[in-house]
């Protein structure tokens, strides 16, 4: 009984904090999404589905997010996997820790500053100027979907490399020897042994990156220049510029709903594929 009371006291601050700063705001957004916009902005209580019916007005933002988030995740995966493989299997153990830290270090520095660096490189006097020297004129890179994609891959690569590295590192190297002793080519060994065993890492990495990308705001704002915008950018616009809280809430609820559905379906799919649900859960 005393222990129960002690646990209650220890849990109360965190619990109250989560209720006030997480549950209450989400409930408010949910309620507001059924309301109407006031004449001077803000929110007027109502019970209408008008805001949800109006969602197609922001279709471009949803379309961009739903194309570029999976595409960015895939691009990050394709670039990260060989690197993780190199770090876990090929590189000498002497260098492994250092190289691994070098992958993680950029992730600990501000994503704002790292995205901003690409304005330099992709902007008029960066790569386009270099291309001009070799005779390719009028290449426009900044403020294109390509620039946003580069920013995404650059920003989230470390988050993809790390879980894949962990799952490849855990892999029993004797399995690879056994496979080659039994006459498999290296390619076949990779395809039939290494790749299937690294599925949990790939699944974790993809999910982390995908979740973060769905709510992305900074990278499209900095590298998309208002031309390539995500749902996140639409939300900033709705809440801070047009002050349309009711419609903004409906957009936010829709984003969360899409995320929940995608992640649930994805987890089901992966757990059927790998049969090791424990390894891929977030916690």
């Amino acid at each position: 009984m005393r222990q129960l009371r002690r646990n209650g006291v220890l849990l109360a601050p965190a619990g109250i904090w989560l209720l006030v700063m997480l549950v209450l705001p989400l409930v408010v957004v949910f309620i507001f999404s059924f309301g109407e916009r006031g004449a001077a902005g803000g929110y007027v209580p109502a019970l209408t589905l008008e805001q949800y019916a109006n969602l197609p007005a922001r279709w471009t933002a949803f379309k961009n997010t739903l194309i570029l988030a999976p595409l960015g995740t895939l691009a990050a995966l394709l670039i990260a996997y060989p690197l993780a493989y190199y770090l876990a299997v090929r590189c000498s153990p002497k260098w492994r820790t250092t190289l691994l830290i070098l992958v993680i270090v950029p992730f600990w520095t501000s994503i704002l500053i790292r995205s901003y660096a690409w304005i330099f490189i992709l902007g008029g006097r960066g790569i386009p100027a270099l291309l001009e020297m070799v005779g390719i004129d009028e290449v426009r890179l900044i403020n294109t979907p390509f620039a946003v994609l580069v920013g995404i891959v650059y920003g989230y690569l470390p988050l993809m490399v790390f879980p894949i590295f962990v799952s490849l590192d855990k892999l029993d190297k004797r399995l690879l020897e056994a496979s080659s002793d039994l006459g498999s080519t290296p390619l076949r060994t990779f395809w039939q042994v290494t790749l299937p065993l690294s599925v949990p890492g790939v699944a974790t990495g993809c999910m982390l990156v995908f979740i973060l990308l769905m709510g992305e705001f900074l990278i499209p704002a900095i590298l998309g220049g208002g031309k390539v915008f995500f749902v996140g950018n639409a939300l900033v616009d709705l809440f801070l510029q047009s002050r349309n809280w009711a419609f903004g809430s409906a957009v936010a609820m829709t984003l969360v709903f899409i995320m929940l559905v995608t992640v649930t379906v994805y987890m089901k799919f992966i757990s059927r594929l790998g049969g090791q649900r424990d390894d891929i859960s977030l916690m």
């Binding site: 904090w17 950029p106 490189i121």
Partner: protein, 272 residues
């Protein structure tokens, strides 16, 4: 294979290098290197807006890290002895806190708190004695720290709980068998074992709060944090001053990371 790895590292580090190099550019225009100079560092460090923003960010990050590390650790320890609906509820809330995009947290907190303050402020005004100015609840440092703490506390709970789960149970039993009080067991056995995780959680919270733009953008009210300052400057154009600030921020995070690594390693070698 090695060549591939080298090119990925170049991809990761060239942009950072470009910023660092151009921060020493003496030219006014960011795109052409005119000669070596540290004048932009001087300019940045003597810019009162930059220093104010830095101070705000450091205070918010420090308060967030202290609150998140202490509340998160308390909750993680208590959750070990809790089961049933309370446990399920906490697991669900932590999962939601981590899953929901920062931007949704930001706008939700903004509209919820603005609405609540809109009710509370007139009530405070009515309750206050006449003549005295009643306190006003506003968006600002308090709401910023509260929002950052919510998210980072969830991270601390996850990290510390993982460490507790990996702890050797027999140590606790041994301590109890040797007649240690629950508090004594906690202070002399549990705490030293989970200290590295608490420290990691503290540093993670600090870095998150210091680097966060999107939540702060909505809930900081009239306060300007360093990321907010940098973002609004970028909108007005690329300047060498921003490069200098960026280079300093990256160098500082790097130093923090190295210190954390050293502390963690010492913690591990001591306990192991």
């Amino acid at each position: 294979m090695r060549l591939y790895a080298i090119s990925v590292y170049l991809f990761l580090y060239i942009p950072i290098g470009v910023i660092a190099v151009f921060s020493f550019n003496s030219g006014r225009h960011a795109s052409q290197f005119m000669g070596f100079s540290t004048k932009w560092y001087g300019k940045a460090l003597s810019n009162p807006f930059v220093m104010d923003a830095l101070e705000t960010s450091l205070i918010a990050a420090f308060l967030t890290a202290c609150l998140a590390a202490s509340l998160g650790t308390m909750a993680a320890i208590a959750l070990q002895g809790v089961s049933g609906w309370l446990r399920t509820l906490f697991d669900a809330l932590i999962y939601i806190a981590v899953m929901i995009p920062g931007i949704v947290i930001g706008i939700a907190t903004l509209i919820a708190l603005v609405t609540v303050f809109g009710w509370v402020n007139p009530m405070l005004a009515a309750l206050w004695p006449e003549g005295a100015t009643p306190p006003q609840l506003n968006m600002g440092m308090g709401t910023l720290v509260a929002a950052h703490t919510m998210f980072t506390m969830a991270l601390v709970i996850i990290i510390v709980r993982a460490r507790i789960a990996g702890m050797d149970r027999s140590l606790l039993e041994a301590s109890q068998d040797l007649f240690a009080t629950p508090w004594g067991t906690f202070r002399q056995v549990t705490l030293p074992l989970i200290a590295p995780a608490i420290l990691a959680g503290f540093l993670l919270s600090f870095t998150f709060s210091f680097d966060d733009f999107i939540i702060a953008f909505f809930v900081a009210g009239s306060e300007t944090t360093l990321p907010i300052y940098i973002f609004s400057s970028i909108r007005r154009g690329v300047t060498p001053e921003i490069n200098a600030i960026g280079t300093m921020v990256m160098a500082a995070s790097l130093m923090l990371l190295v210190i954390a690594q050293m502390l963690l390693r010492r913690g591990v070698s001591k306990s192991g």
